[in-house]
Subunit: 349 residues, 2 copies
């Protein structure tokens, strides 16, 4: 299944409709899933049609815009009520990635002062498009900052999917890989499959193969062994929420990778936009961790391999303490050994 020549676009805004690549069926099928309302976007986020913290934020922004468009000819009171419901529905779709709440905050700002509903709807559509375009520029800046850290020929371990599919384009951690490749650094990638949802096996491997970036797929439990054999040079991951002190919530398993990197004296980088940093959350202990369904663990894609009725734990994220992070790669540059003071400075600049 090939992507178009313009590259992979997780989200497309066409004729006032949002089209999402259905990431549940990649790489076997490249299909678009259309959304026409905030409720449909919220359901697409919940069901992981679209996933990845920045992409979720963009999708939620379009969810607000879609709702405004469909309700613009109602009375102002009805319009306001519909918008409040849309914000609530979208905010309840997934709890951990903060970009969702950040994007909703941006859209709320664009809504005020409202003016008449049709002009508000037009403004919200423009705001969502601007947010999507800005995300691509942000990722390119992250990529440039991160590529400067990458040695020629580096063998980069990455996790989950942090590429074009997880963002409006280019990617965060995978954006660093793309930028390093564009700088002719001859990098290669070891991609963890990332159980239970297999974003690494399905999405990261696919994205990298589309661009002829060398990739080797492994199961998540092989990382320690490969590090011990000296086959990995550094780790770059994305983030779903970064607390004010630099603690990182990211896909379950990230904390283990950070410990393994520390033990084998390898750099462990987190690549994320400032919109992933939640200054209002003091540390990782305050970040809500989503628990997802048992069916994700007992099998995959309709196939169940575990015994019927087995008890399951399925936390979707974990917390990596800031002291394990070698550097936080943002659109404002690299924050080495992030802490509260350095992170606050990012927002002051």
């Amino acid at each position: 299944m090939s992507a178009s020549s313009e590259g992979v676009q997780a989200l497309r805004w066409r004729n006032g409709r949002l089209e999402l690549i259905d990431q549940r069926v990649l790489p076997a099928h490249l299909e678009y899933h259309a959304c026409s309302s905030a409720a449909e976007v919220a359901e697409a986020i919940r069901a992981m049609v679209v996933r990845g913290a920045p992409a979720i934020g963009c999708a939620a922004a379009f969810g607000v815009a879609l709702e405004a468009k469909s309700k613009q000819h109602r009375t102002p009171a009805e319009f306001d009520a519909a918008m409040e419901a849309a914000f609530s529905t979208l905010a309840a779709s997934r709890p951990t990635a903060v970009n969702l709440f950040w994007a909703l905050g941006r859209m709320r700002a664009a809504l005020s002062p409202r003016g008449d509903p049709p002009s508000a709807a037009a403004r919200l559509a423009e705001a969502a498009v601007a947010l999507m375009k800005a995300d691509i520029e942000t990722n390119r800046a992250i990529g440039r900052a991160g590529a400067a850290l990458i040695a020629d020929g580096a063998r980069i371990l990455t996790y989950c999917n942090t590429g074009a599919l997880a963002t409006a384009g280019h990617g965060t951690a995978l954006g660093v890989v793309r930028s390093a490749r564009d700088a002719d650094k001859g990098v290669s990638v070891i991609a963890c499959e990332t159980r239970p949802y297999l974003q690494g096996a399905r999405l990261t491997a696919w994205e990298l193969m589309q661009e002829n970036i060398p990739v080797t797929l492994i199961t998540d439990n092989m990382v320690g062994h490969l590090m011990r054999l000296g086959r990995i040079d550094l780790v770059i991951v994305g983030a779903d929420r970064i607390a004010a002190n630099g603690d990182v919530a990211n896909k379950i398993g990230t904390y283990t990778l950070a410990l393994l990197a520390e033990r084998h004296r390898l750099p462990f980088y987190v690549a994320a936009p400032l919109s992933t940093i939640d200054i209002a959350t003091e540390d990782g202990g305050a970040i809500p961790i989503e628990e997802r369904s048992a069916a994700e663990v007992t099998g995959y894609g309709g196939m169940q391999w575990a015994p019927q009725g087995v008890a399951v734990a399925n936390p979707a994220f974990d917390i990596t303490p800031a002291e394990l992070v070698s550097g936080l790669i943002t659109e404002k540059g690299v924050v080495t050994r992030p802490d509260t003071v350095k992170i606050r400075a990012l927002f002051a600049a």
Copy 2:
């Protein structure tokens, strides 16, 4: 799918035939796979109809016995040639678990002096049965020794399958769990699914549910997170080969578990019979690590989720350095912080 009232038996010797539970189709189906020759047993080992270091050793012993039985009316020269071929075929089935070679050595000893082929065949069948019975007794002794280490209410992390299915009965690491339960310690188990072959999800979860031992299934990448939250008290794993210095070859991912246990100050135990200790191998660096097929990583059970043609690494085992092992639980007792001297003493006693 329920096991018989006599408990799970990975191997049965009935009417001169070897019947193996087909572990490829558990837990959905409980089927027996019959073998009548050394070549059939070797193929069953290679294809993982039977797996687990002690069970592989027992199966190989029956492979020798089967071959002797079917060739007992040939000329002595033909019989000898067939037996040599049988030993070679069985030895080539899988490279890492040393119990295979240990069992073949026992069978070779039972063959010499040969005498006439029919009496040799009878002796080899007896030797294989004795080896299987001894494995159960060995596992019960391991279980008793290990249970003494387990606190009441302990939440035990285990990996892969080390139970009745991996042995002639009772199990090694899971045998310790069984013995702890029999001692009314109120233990519970966290079972890692163990990608790529999912022995934890399919076999360990099934065995424990058969016996009403509380089990929670997780993906392998959740261990660090759960340890950080204080939800795991200790780790017990099995082994495929232990070098003379105490380095442990076991299912890929074991090394990572050992590092995580060390970091979180949790005991990391290895439960294995003396037949798993390879005194002739100085350290873990000399243990051959089997590389298995890409298809195990790109999907499961005929379903492929990774892109066609993606490069894959699939080492089936890794090496845990002896210094990460809190204790080696054997049928001769627990060796705390194993090293070359303590391991040599096990064989002297």
